[in-house]
Amino acid sequence: MAHRGGGSEHEGGGSKGHGSDDRPWVYFMIDSFFLCTQFFVVTFHIKSDEIVLPQKLPPGGTAMARQVAVDTKKKLSVHVSQAAGGGAAYGFGANMGEVGLSGLVDKLAVSTSAGVEYQVRVSYEPDVRWEHVMAVFNACSKLKIAECGLIPLRGRDAGP
């Protein structure tokens, strides 16, 4: 905190009146300046908006959904599995040939280039990290595939 002698200076300066003081408000000004600076430094935060990826769950994509799946959209299957080194491998289509993320984006782009509306359904292994599945959603958004959802785990994989 800045020097607090402002008051005493005024009081003690018997011979010096308010008007005749050389630096009558200097301590007050220093105090105010430092406090203001301190206030702005402490309360300053870089504003960062959290962003979201809005996605639709597929109709009837979860076991408990009450929606009846009546759709004529073509379905594309993507299977996410754990790869060595913490990465992910993406199986695409019926033959499920495994590719990396960039390979998957390329394949999705080729499939959707014909102008047909597609629905992407993502299946996964129980221990696959969320970020690897999210990457598929992100790719779908990039390619303007509105419906991209998950196929839930079945049986023992789903856990207790």
Binding site: M1, R4, G6, G7, H10, E11, Y27, F28, D31, S32, L35, C36, Q38, F39, V42, T43, H45, S48, D49, E50, I51, V52, L53, P54, Q55, K56, L57, T62, A63, M64, A65, R66, Q67, V68, V80, Y124, E125, P126, D127, V128, R129, W130, E131, V133, M134, A135, F137, N138, S141, K142, L150, P152, L153, D157, A158, G159, P160
Partner: protein, 168 residues
């Protein structure tokens, strides 16, 4: 005869300003901490296609009455945090307490006319899911299943833009 000495009372402003500023700082800091306590710090997955709330609004995506569901690893066990309350996750998203709470939210919003339920049981309440990037899909699925069970299918996944480090 000497004129009576003028009694001049001077108000010392310096300590008053000091104290007010310190009080203000205290309130701002405490208020900020209280606000951030509802948002769990986690490392979110990255997605370059994700949008800010402002951009979503411009696109006509509904944000009013959004429910925020967070997944947190609490000493090895993943739990869903809704409104600062932790719920255990079970297979098929069938945690009774979590479902009851979400159902209460749905019923309240529908009864108040804040949300609509369609013929399939889907409610138009937006849900923001905050899931750490390293969460296993087994746990993620349980949260999504719980939401699907009560008809909350308007899910928005929280992400981080590329080129940014950790987030709140």
């Amino acid at each position: 005869m000497r004129p009576p000495e003028e009694n001049r009372v001077e108000v010392d402003m310096v300590p008053m300003i000091d104290i007010i500023t310190l009080l203000l700082m205290f309130l701002v800091i405490v208020g900020d901490l209280a606000a951030s306590a509802s948002t769990i710090q986690m490392k979110l997955p990255r997605a370059d296609q994700a949008l800010t709330d402002k951009e979503l609004k411009e696109k006509g995506v509904r944000l009013e009455g959004r429910v925020v569901v967070q997944l947190q690893n609490q000493s090895g066990v993943y739990r869903a945090i809704v409104n600062n309350k932790a719920y255990d996750l079970v297979g098929g998203g069938s945690n009774r307490k979590l479902l009851e709470y979400l159902d209460e939210q749905v019923t309240y919003n529908v009864n108040k006319g804040l949300a609509k339920k369609d013929s399939t049981g889907a409610v138009d309440i937006p849900v923001k899911l905050r899931i750490p990037e390293d969460a296993p899909m087994r746990e993620v699925e349980r949260v999504i299943m719980s939401l699907a069970r009560v008809g909350m299918v308007h899910v928005q996944y929280a992400a981080e833009p590329f080129g940014k480090a950790a987030s709140k």
